[in-house]
């Protein structure tokens, strides 16, 4: 959950288009990693997590096509985590709520960025990625709170 909180902080702190795109790329990557640790057929969230992972990968690819996305640097490169990296106490529902919140923020920041972006390709990337983030939110937002 710390990872999601850190990602949210990066998104909140991003001020310009390259920073937002950079943070968005990493946010989608982080979602993939977190979801991977939570996909469990025994849980009721199984289908929603599986579908969310597809949307997260789609969102990442769309952001990757944005001309203003800066090259990766060591500071922003994702650190691979395994399922065990998440605290055992963090349940699927709690994770779903956290990811829903992150995806909502992501959609909001990308939609805002689409409005500022001067380059049409950047605008298209931001709009497309916001759509994928919204899709994740719609899949996970129905989870009952922890």
């Amino acid at each position: 959950m710390d990872r999601i909180a850190a990602t949210r902080a990066r998104l909140d702190g991003a001020g310009d288009l390259p920073s937002i795109l950079d943070a968005a790329y990493e946010a989608f990557e982080d979602m993939l990693l977190v979801i991977r640790g939570q996909v469990d057929p025994a849980q009721g969230e199984f289908a929603a997590f599986v579908m969310s992972a597809a949307s997260a990968a789609n969102g990442r690819d769309v952001v990757a096509a944005a001309p203003s996305l800066p090259p990766a640097n060591a500071a922003s490169a994702p650190v691979a985590i395994a399922a065990g990296d998440l605290p055992v106490s963090v349940g699927a529902q709690e994770t779903a709520v956290a990811l829903a919140g992150l995806s909502h923020l992501l959609a909001s920041r990308l939609s805002d960025a689409a409005a500022w972006a001067a380059d049409a390709a950047d605008r298209a990337a931001c709009t497309g990625a916001a759509g994928h983030a919204s899709r994740i939110w719609s899949l996970l937002a129905g989870a009952p709170g922890p």
């Binding site: 289908a47 599986v50 579908m51 997260a56 789609n58 990757a64 996305l69 090259p71 996970l140 129905g142």
Partner: protein, 624 residues
């Protein structure tokens, strides 16, 4: 399985009409009876001409035109190859006797005495139904610009498969057997004394005899290499090529309605996947979004299958079906394994992308529909979706299958789903291999190590990632096929309507028929023992029937006399056949009495009656 018209609907209706191929005459005075019979003969002949045209088209579809296969070479052919050739010849000969305007056709007279006979029997209707059945089969096939056959549906390779082609030829033989005795009976019944009428009746009788020859040829192949009831069922189950309309569950469906929705949705997924494969090298719809959605849906659908199978296992156990319950649990395990492999494939797609983005293919959209349909069957809530909501409770086993009779429908729904996942995995793997060869698989440059200096957002996918993806699909194909096989066995055990899927699959695996190419397998079984005609009494027995005799003992004696007479004729004919000028039934059918006897012998489909086959029209012309 489907609410669409099937070939069996038309074939069965045609057979029903053929039972009454001759219209029942209305009561008329004795002096008018012969004239009425003449009208019936004309109308029957006219309708038969149409039926033979349709049957010839069927044979043209499933056999290669006879050109230069000598009688000696035919002995080397496989039974069904020889039957196809002989059936074609028999049909051509029968049709030749019924050429319009030929000897004996007395046009224009029927209007004068129409009140004495019913206008039409069932033959005309049967011909129309046969034609409709052929049209139905042909909705699945097309011919390309180069003349090659194109498959328009998943049923196309089934239609051209060896088992179904044989079943169709067998069906033609049965139709011929239904028509022949009625035509012969009409031909040898008393008619007016005009010369033209007598000729017409002789020709109708000859045509009927050739239909018996057709039936006999097919029966001979059937005795050597039988057409199974399963093959006939499969032929009859072939539906018209009309894809079910796309629809999503409304929330008001019953369990049965959901099962039907799953079958329809599954068919749409298979259809969309089949179309996508040949377009993989260029289609803008082959996107990572599409493939990810399809893989995610495959994961979810196989998950649903597992839950349904476990639930049915519990229900079967409650009904006391321990064996079925155990098999359902095994199948559930197979479905769970398939789910794991689908999940690995979905994860492999997280590390790879495509050169086109932004659209979702029809196949992926249909897969999402199937995930929704199966989810609605699994979960009790009629508003269930893939998104999270209030904790989803699975449908209780007793709600899923209130009685044991409900089990086959649900097994069928799972069977359709598993079969579809198997085909989807195969289709997607083929698309990926094609896309990889076309250089369409990429990765975000950011995902590559720093040692790669690529000034573009995406780079060609490294071979190891492609290999992982292809391997993941291969595992998924294998696991999905194993789940399908397990569920298919249960479908067979509980007589689920989806059994036709298994039959179709095995028919396709048996290969498609090409009679000349398939013809090298020689007959290796002895000819079956001759049988007597079951549908036509011999002349002595018929006379007793006409006299109103019902005593089984007397009828048995009459039948014995008929058989003894036929045996004597056959022995005599075989002896005569070794002499330079052998007999043929044309010679032996000159009177109504002898024609009846020959007809009865031909109807027995006894291979030895080959020596009595009637002459063809060209043989008759050669003599004059």
């Amino acid at each position: 399985v489907t609410s669409r018209a099937t070939f069996g609907d038309f074939a069965s209706a045609a057979s029903s009409y053929l039972e009454q191929a001759i219209a029942q005459s209305e009561p008329v005075a004795v002096r008018q009876r012969a004239a009425a019979r003449a009208v019936q003969t004309e109308e029957f002949t006219r309708s038969l001409r149409g039926v033979l045209e349709v049957m010839a088209r069927y044979l043209g579809d499933i056999t290669t035109p006879v050109t230069d296969v000598s009688v000696r070479d035919r002995r080397e052919l496989a039974p069904w190859a020889r039957a196809g050739i002989e059936a074609q010849e028999a049909l051509q000969n029968a049709a030749a006797f019924l050429q319009p305007g030929g000897n004996g056709e007395d046009t224009g007279r029927s209007g004068q005495i129409r009140e004495g006979a019913a206008a039409d029997g069932g033959l005309k209707a049967a011909g129309a139904l046969m034609a409709a059945g052929r049209d139905l089969l042909n909705t699945h096939l097309a011919v390309g610009a180069d003349g090659a056959r194109l498959d328009r549906s998943e049923w196309a390779p089934v239609i051209t498969s060896t088992p179904v082609t044989r079943a169709l030829l067998f069906e033609l033989g049965l139709w011929a057997r239904q028509i022949a005795p009625q035509g012969a009976r009409l031909a040898i019944s008393p008619g007016p004394a005009q010369r033209s009428s007598a000729e017409a009746r002789r020709q109708l009788n000859a045509a009927s005899q050739w239909l018996w020859v057709l039936h006999s040829a097919v029966q001979s192949a059937h005795r050597s290499d039988p057409v199974s009831a399963e093959d006939t069922r499969l032929l009859h189950a072939i539906p018209v090529n009309a894809l079910p309309a796309r629809r999503r569950p409304s929330g008001a469906e019953t369990v049965t309605g959901l099962c039907h929705g799953i079958a329809d949705s599954a068919e749409r997924v298979r259809h969309a996947g089949r179309i996508a494969v040949p377009q993989a090298s260029w289609s803008p719809r082959l996107t990572a979004e599409s493939m990810r959605q399809a893989a995610a849906c495959g994961t979810v659908i196989s998950h649903h299958c597992e839950i349904l199978l476990r639930s049915m296992a519990a229900r079967a156990a409650q009904h006391g079906s321990g064996v079925v319950s155990a098999r359902l649990l095994d199948s559930a395990g197979a479905a769970a394994h398939a789910r794991t492999t689908w999940l690995h494939t979905a994860r492999a797609w997280e590390r790879i992308t495509t050169d086109t983005r932004g659209s979702v293919s029809p196949a992926a959209a249909e897969a999402a529909d199937l995930a929704l349909w199966t989810g609605r069957l699994v979960y009790a809530s009629p508003e269930w979706t893939l998104a999270l909501g209030p904790s989803p409770a699975a449908r209780a086993p007793e709600a899923l299958a209130p009685s044991a009779d409900d089990l086959p429908g649900i097994v069928a729904a799972v069977h359709h789903s598993c079969e579809t996942l198997t085909q989807m995995a195969a289709a997607d793997q083929r698309q990926i291999c094609t896309a990889a060869r076309a250089g369409r698989l990429l990765v975000p440059t950011r995902s590559l190590p720093d040692s790669f200096d690529i000034p573009h957002p995406f780079a060609p996918a490294p071979p190891d990632r492609i290999d992982l993806l292809v391997a993941a699909y291969q595992d998924t194909r294998t696991a999905s096929a194993q789940a399908t096989t397990a569920v298919a066995a249960i479908a067979a055990a509980v007589h689920a309507p989806s059994r036709v899927l298994t039959s179709a699959r095995s028919a396709v695996h048996a290969g498609s028929v090409s009679f000349p190419a398939d013809s090298q397998r020689a007959l290796d079984k002895p000819a079956a023992t001759p049988r007597r005609s079951a549908d036509l009494p011999g002349p002595v027995e018929r006379i007793l029937h006409d006299l109103g005799v019902t005593s089984p003992a007397m009828l048995l004696r009459a039948s014995g006399i008929d058989q003894a007479g036929e045996q004597l004729i056959l022995e005599a004919a075989q002896a005569a056949g070794t002499q330079p000028a052998g007999p043929d039934s044309r010679d032996l059918s000159r009177s109504a009495g002898t024609a009846e006897l020959i007809n009865h012998m031909l109807a027995s489909a006894d291979p030895r009656t080959a020596i009595l086959h009637p002459a063809s029209t060209w043989e008759l012309e050669a003599e004059t």
